[in-house]
Symmetry: C2
Subunit: 357 residues, 2 copies
Amino acid sequence: MSKYWSQITKSIEPYVCGEQPKDRKYIKINTNENPYPPAPRVLEIIKESANGDLRLYPDPNCGELREVIANYYDLNKNQVFIGNGSDEVLAFSFLAFFNSNDYIIFPEISYSFYPVYAKLYNIDYKLARLDKEFSIEVNDLMSKDGGVVIPNPNAPTGRYMDVDSIKKILDYNLEKVVIIDEAYIDFGGTSVVNLIKNYPNLLVIQTLSKSRSLAGMRVGFALGQEHLIDGLNRIKNSFNSYTIDRIAAAAGAEAIKDEEYFKECVSRVISTREKVAMQLESLGFNVIPSKANFIFVTHPSYTANVLFTKLKGKNVLVRYFNKDRIDNYLRISIGSEEEMDFFIDRIKEVLDEIKNN
Amino acid sequence: MSKYWSQITKSIEPYVCGEQPKDRKYIKINTNENPYPPAPRVLEIIKESANGDLRLYPDPNCGELREVIANYYDLNKNQVFIGNGSDEVLAFSFLAFFNSNDYIIFPEISYSFYPVYAKLYNIDYKLARLDKEFSIEVNDLMSKDGGVVIPNPNAPTGRYMDVDSIKKILDYNLEKVVIIDEAYIDFGGTSVVNLIKNYPNLLVIQTLSKSRSLAGMRVGFALGQEHLIDGLNRIKNSFNSYTIDRIAAAAGAEAIKDEEYFKECVSRVISTREKVAMQLESLGFNVIPSKANFIFVTHPSYTANVLFTKLKGKNVLVRYFNKDRIDNYLRISIGSEEEMDFFIDRIKEVLDEIKNN
């Protein structure tokens, strides 16, 4: 700790992201990346954008990208906000809509960045309970206090909440912003984006990092009525006028436009997920039902931390959270068919090794 | 104003950046962009990076880029922090090192984003005075209060402060962080980066947007002793783990490596600046001495706002700030020789038109 740090710097508890090893020998199924490359046109537009115009600032309002996303979701351009990954959009949203003296609510097990944002901006929070199988207790989200944040599907559990439950939460919290973090919605859930016209308190946040295979380019976005988007713009323009570079904006637009490629990648991930879930169940794992591009699993006879370490020894990187209630679970991102076959072979070996020890 | 906005969203006063017109018919000398394209290898590496790896998250710590910058400045890697443009680095720095109950100090005329950050984070500030010709009163920066921020050269004046004056400020404020914002230092000033080893309170902030022709890619950085860089990392990792995309990181590294190209572009900008300054002086303008890639000018007989509007009508976009003390000045970015010749011809026409009216 340095005497030069502000009070906030001293008190925050930074987020720790999944390992990004550089040696590249791993089957990397630890950070929910898409196993398939970005759409071909994305790579082409990047090459085309490598020109002298990079000396110029980007469009601070990401006009073209906002238009493409608005078209895709049948919204208008002013209902779309672009940020540097959904993490930045979330960070801006906490500051834009939540006050430090009201309690906000999010599930007790959810994206571990939420409490970090709350701490950064000195926002108090309460945790909504989850049942034994990690379903969210909807009644706990009826708060009327400072606002609500729900990842749907939830992370790291993969659990999906249906549209009717979200409607109930929106109705109950009409005076406060309800953020639905749909980072993983494309892998089998139904977005609540159609509710935006009826709910002035609904902010939907999505990302191109997962279903659009663009984690490397940092593009996320928020969808909501114009007054909410205006609030986000006020925060952004008090922080950094240009958070999206020229190439990210161009690549993002192409990623949204190629719907066919997107659907194909997503459906392959879903079918691999279902296959892997069955295989793990047949090995005795309990697999939480997932609508995301990962599964959350536990085994009655084997310790998750041991499995994590042994898999890493066999060049398979999954995610382990050393946290209350989930410290005997592994989160496994869905890779390609081949990667998951390799993973299943290795986990069989690991189980055998432990059994024979 | 929306009832869903937080108190902060309601009270902030967002920054307004220079126009980024899309029609492109303008000679655009309003946002201090470099007239020359990025180094050839920058464009090449971008093309090479347009591949399937974009599905993967970038290195959250920008290891390679930090190493290249550390080498360039003879620092170690842990003395370098990378952000999404120097604006993001500044925003993080305000939060990392300044407290809301202490007054920070910056010049009364300086980068207009500073008071915006202060407002965003509820940090009080005092303004150091400038003399008639916009030189900063060094004694006003001897505060021992909450910290100091100095753009050097200053913007939008272009005024440069020598290393000895900065040393005095650093010595006086040893217990508080002094940020030297060197966005424009490469255009003729001397960086204080060599003082880092002696001053635990010194944070130097630079950008690739100006002298490296990469405004479109959003890369800025901070240099300082490790404990300051650690503080910035704590804030960043409480906000967004990955603020630099894969392509920006790769492009940034190449931009630093090509020193010869960089020096050539910078020296062309400097020689154009000196020529334009002389031309404007011969037209009766008062030109503030500049060590930046822009000049700040006023005319005893012509109103800046009128000149601004008339130039815009002739497809020349310069920057006009409707603010106390500088509302009769124009800030003119230094474009290419050809652009500045065009600009000088147009300003002559404008002066003639007004004279004959």
